[in-house]
Amino acid sequence: MRRTIVFGWLIAGFFLQATAYFFLGAKLGIPQSPANSNPRVPYAGLVFICGVMMVFISAVIYELLPDREDKGQTGDVRDGREYGR
């Protein structure tokens, strides 16, 4: 379940980046009109940055989101040994 969420989040992040770069920002190419200098959607740059951040937040979600396998385990670092399993 967690893997699905993380993977989906990751793909969404890359998707946002690609969309923002190629379709939401100013038109790429040799400037021939103001369309090359104005973003097609305002705050396209912010969308791109959100995409980059989402890709890396997926790692945080992967580590922090509690899942089935966490239950019933305790960990303890006293004396470097693990207690419970």
Partner: protein, 440 residues
């Protein structure tokens, strides 16, 4: 089974003191903080003067008829700070991807150095802008992907910094959990940082996987980020001396040189300050020194290729810029940079054959290459503007004023404050249990 690490004894219950002097202000720390704060205050004053009076009080002027350089010391240090940020990620990648666990003690120093360097780079960008508030408002709204600076603002300053913060955070939850056991003012802070980390085998496994993939993801981000900064210069046909396909790789390698050098210096200082001679061993420094050696050799190679290309059959203006560097107005600085890099190289080769010299050679080389990196960035940014114009304007001149020096000194003070502030609230060196378990 109590184990003595620095000033911290654990394995006995209850734990009483946080390791590495965290949460306890000492005399030498206060002295360092005061110096850094003083530098920061001076920088704030210098920037205040610049903000109110305009950038006319800097040494920058318009290119061409005014014979000045619109990009000056600020851009030099933007390139330098972004370069220094190379350190953290390459180390994290090396440790995780190549299983070099002996380097683990320096990992957090490197990651913190990366984040602080990027914060300083961002502040330096704002200091350089003619309208910084407008910059903060207009950049998210209007940023153009077609501009090389788009990569700098988004990938470097936002993406790269964020990725490093995530890596730093995830890598340090375990130490936060250990620190959260000690009652005190910082306990809540450490508890929030740990966010429920209980060091179960499942959590450790997940962290291993996550950090592995993070390291794999951050390395291309690092190459892209430094390359876009190289593209800012390398794509400009109008600036002979900048226009070169080698700028992108050159920036990546120079970043490695300055970042690794500064990391060696910071690690040596922390080793002394925290008494961690047992964990920040000669072997750690030897490894870092060898990495620096390889990077310097790679950089010298790129430099030679670039110079030969422009000298053999360069355009007229490119030859003019090269002349200004070799024998003209910038000759002293040029040959000084070469001398600094070669001296660092000699020291590092010496410690390769005499391992006992590792620490001293490494720290000296680290300082030398960072000074060389700053001067080399200066030699990149300035001569192409003063001697490079393609139309026959007379040669220009640039000398920074106290304002520019002040802001830069303020930024170094700010970075130092952040670093030593972090070291007082969180372990700057991984707590040793992590290694014990890996060995078990």
């Amino acid at each position: 089974m109590a184990q003595r690490v620095g000033t911290y004894t654990y394995g006995s219950e209850p734990t009483e003191r946080l390791p590495y002097g965290i949460g306890r202000v000492t005399g030498p720390w206060l002295f360092a903080a005061a110096l850094a704060a003083g530098a920061f205050g001076f920088g704030v004053y210098a920037y205040y003067r610049q903000y109110t009076e305009g950038e006319v009080i800097t040494g920058m002027r318009d290119i061409g008829t005014m014979g000045g350089t619109p990009w000056g010391l600020y851009v030099v240090f933007i390139a330098y700070f972004v370069g220094v940020s190379f350190a953290g990620i390459i180390l994290a990648a090396l440790i995780r991807l190549m299983n070099l666990h002996q380097l683990k003690p320096v990992a957090r120093i490197a990651e913190v150095l990366t984040v602080i360097a990027l914060v300083c780079a961002a502040c330096c960008v704002l200091a350089d802008l003619g309208n910084p508030i407008r910059g903060l408002l207009n950049l998210p709204r209007y940023a153009r992907p077609g501009s090389p600076l788009f990569g700098t603002f988004t990938l470097v300053i936002s993406g790269y910094m964020f990725a490093s913060l995530v890596y730093l955070y995830l890598d340090s939850r375990r130490d936060a959990m250990i620190c959260a056991r000690v009652p005190g003012r910082l306990q809540t802070f450490h508890r929030i940082w740990a966010a429920g980390y209980r060091d179960t085998p499942a959590q450790r496994r997940r962290h291993y996987t996550a950090s592995f993939w993070l390291a794999i993801a951050i390395v291309p981000l690092l190459v892209t980020a430094h390359s876009t900064l190289g593209f800012v210069f390398g794509l400009q046909i109008g600036r002979p001396g900048w226009h070169s396909a080698l700028q992108a790789p050159s920036f990546v390698i120079m970043a490695g040189v300055s970042g690794t050098g500064l990391l060696i210096v910071a690690a040596a200082i922390m080793r002394r300050a925290l008494g961690e001679q047992e964990r920040l061993t000669g072997e750690v420094f030897r490894w870092l020194n060898n990495l620096l050696l390889v990077l310097i050799l790679a950089y010298l190679y790129l430099w030679i290729v670039e110079t030969l290309s422009s000298v053999y059959q360069g355009g007229e203006q490119e030859v003019e810029v090269t002349r200004a560097l070799f024998t003209g107005e910038y000759a002293t600085l040029f040959w000084l940079v070469l001398a600094l890099l070669l001296s660092a190289l000699a020291l590092l080769i010496a410690q390769f054959f005499r391992p006992g010299l590792a620490l001293v050679a490494g720290v000296t080389a680290g300082v030398l290459v960072n000074v060389a990196a700053i001067f080399k960035r200066f030699l990149l940014v300035i001569p192409s503007q003063t001697h490079g114009p393609l139309l026959p304007y007379s040669p220009g001149h640039y000398s920074p004023t106290w304002v520019e020096y002040g802001v830069v000194i303020g930024l170094f003070g700010f970075g130092t404050l952040l670093f030593i502030g972090f070291a007082k609230t969180f372990p700057i060196i991984h707590l040793p249990e992590a290694e014990k378990e890996r060995a078990a």
